[in-house]
Symmetry: C2
Subunit: 381 residues, 2 copies
């Protein structure tokens, strides 16, 4: 599949050029067009992604637990594929190859329902991948593009309980909410991140500054970027001028409470700001009187993706880890580390923010179910 993507790059780039031309004619914003656009370099990166997945350990057949029962029955719980995975996603055509590779490596068939804005790109990519699947001796139908540019095909996917085993929506909050609300097929919710950094009274302020800057500005459009900053009142005098200056230096707009608002250039924050996933050079900022208030704030506003504390106080770190109910809780580390690649999974199909089945970055094992295998010798109860 990787070789074919490179060898037949011209077909894919031609399909992509159609999509880009249509998007430009429609007046699509430049940043969306940039996400849509493929280049030889981006195709090479997609191919490398497939090679990376191919090199990972096969999760299917892994014995999760096993024992011999007192009556002599051999019991094993083993990983098996889900069966059919439905992916509903927006814009970026690289997801088409990523998802096909991860699903195939984990033994699943995949139904790909990309954005209509990328339809020519996706059709070209899937045609190439299917030929490669056939050439490898498998049935090409293990990778399928779901037809239709209307919402009807999404509806059909969401109602295909018993035929589709799991649906994974990837995209904006609107897409994910509509799938969660309408699907009878089990859904794994991914990716909305209103992530917090809390700078404790016992924080090393140099480390705190580096973590806040990294979490906010390293890459703003991703779900593990920080969107809210909480600072303990005891270090506000020392930390606020430094962090505000550094963030403003990095072109970040600060939406602050009264304490932050006392500094030049800080805009007033409302509840909307505490709730926002900006995905831009904006951050909401608040001074809290104590750890309890920080925990309350996070309990109220966090999307349960990734929240970090900066502290040298072991007791505060332990409480934060125990009481913040998020997919990832970080101590003295940037929220940007919540990532399948950073965690060493080698591949990631998304970051689950729900509690059922998978939570946090999902690699190959998270794309499997299990079955129990019971071996006896005529055993009856």
């Amino acid at each position: 599949m990787a070789d074919a993507l490179v060898a037949r790059g011209d077909e894919i780039l031609a399909g992509n050029a159609d999509d880009v031309a249509r998007a430009e004619a429609d007046g699509t914003p430049a940043n969306i067009i940039d996400r849509l656009r493929l280049t030889t370099e981006r195709l090479a990166a997609m191919a490398q992604g497939l090679r990376d997945v191919a090199g990972l350990a096969d999760p299917v057949g892994e014995v999760v637990r096993g024992s011999v029962l007192a009556n002599g029955l051999e019991l094993r719980q083993v990983r098996v594929p889900f069966g059919v995975v439905g992916m509903i996603y927006e814009a970026r055509p690289n997801v088409t190859a990523d998802a096909a590779g991860i699903c195939l490596k984990s033994g699943n068939a995949v139904l790909l329902r990309g954005s209509s804005s990328a339809r020519s790109s996706n059709a070209a990519i899937v045609a190439v991948l299917r030929d490669a699947v056939t050439a490898s001796g498998l049935d090409a139908d293990v990778v399928q593009l779901v037809p239709g540019d209307t919402h009807d095909s999404v509806k059909a996917l969401m109602r295909a309980r018993g035929q589709v085993d799991v649906l994974i929506p990837r995209g904006g909050a609107g897409l994910i909410q509509s799938v969660v609300n309408e699907s009878t097929v089990p859904v794994i919710e991914t990716g909305v991140g209103n992530c917090h950094v809390y700078v404790d009274r016992a924080a090393d302020l140099d480390k705190a500054l580096a973590i806040v800057l990294n979490a906010k500005t390293h890459r703003t459009s991703v779900c593990n970027a920080a969107e809210s900053l909480l600072v303990h009142a005891d270090v506000a005098d020392a930390f606020l001028p430094r962090v505000v200056a550094a963030l403003q230096e990095a072109d970040v707009t600060i939406h602050g409470d009264a304490a932050f608002g006392a500094l030049d250039g800080v805009l007033p924050a409302t509840d909307d700001d505490w709730a926002r996933e900006y995905l831009s050079l904006d951050i909401a900022a608040r001074v809290v009187p104590d750890l309890d208030t920080a925990l309350d704030h996070i309990r109220t506003w966090s999307s349960g993706h990734s929240d970090a504390i900066v502290t040298d106080d072991q007791g505060a770190a332990r409480r934060f880890v125990a009481e913040v109910d998020s997919a990832a809780v970080l101590v003295n580390a940037s929220t940007r580390f919540t990532d399948g690649g950073e965690f060493g999974f080698g591949a990631e199909i998304g970051i689950s923010t729900q509690k059922l089945h998978a939570r946090g970055p999902m690699g190959l094992p998270e794309m499997t179910s299990t079955k129990y295998v019971v071996i006896g010798d005529g055993h009856v109860r």
Copy 2:
């Protein structure tokens, strides 16, 4: 909680007597009334169930995996409670105590929505359990009975996404289907079992006979009872007369294909029979020409709960284990072994027949989610 159930048994039995009287006045069938009725012995068994759960290892905090990344970050995936579990169940009041115990032991709060036919029993049990929870120093609201005898409270539970973390319906296929179709809260589907026993050409027929009889007749009202029998044509002449005689001796009605129909007393089977979960002394029976046809039959009709092969042929056993896509696949063992108690889990909240999160018997670990804990020392990307 166990002590309180026994000490205040009179209150609970009085509540139960109201439910039984109402059911009798309504002309409820005797077997349903039997499931509803509590006795001192059944209360003692409920109390023992709670003691058993209390004695199990606490799943919360278990480190599922952990490592130190190349950059020095410490990464741990640890078990955490879901948060709030909603149970929607029918008839049997013992589920009230079982579910409360399992949810509490796994760190979850539980919302119990029992059948209106058991409302007085459930109210009495929950009142006693809540007092015991308070006495232990916890907030009584971790165990709550959902009020209301109408469908409205079920609807509210199914729409409480963000407030209820997971819903577990236990009961008949109708209840489970309606929850699966209407709930926006993630659901774990439990318990419909159209289980098969396939007697291969290479089966030890004595063991096959024992397994068929045990799987069908040991207890008929449970989801791991066998409902369908498949026999390889090569052993039909030797096995059919024996198995038909033995099943009929045990008062089992056989709904058979043409081959079985040639024997006295066998009723003709239709597609309805292949699909049925009888939960009674009935079995569907068919002769198949080969293993492939048996696998096809199971693929078409199995509910994906538990399916067994009886064979001494290692190749046939391997194919059956690999190709039957069910929560439990058994070789030379009765389907009745698919059970949390038999598997050594010590407690079971139900048997999942879905592929997401948990599949097969669910013990305490299946009642938890996980979170990633990431510890650094000022780490940034």
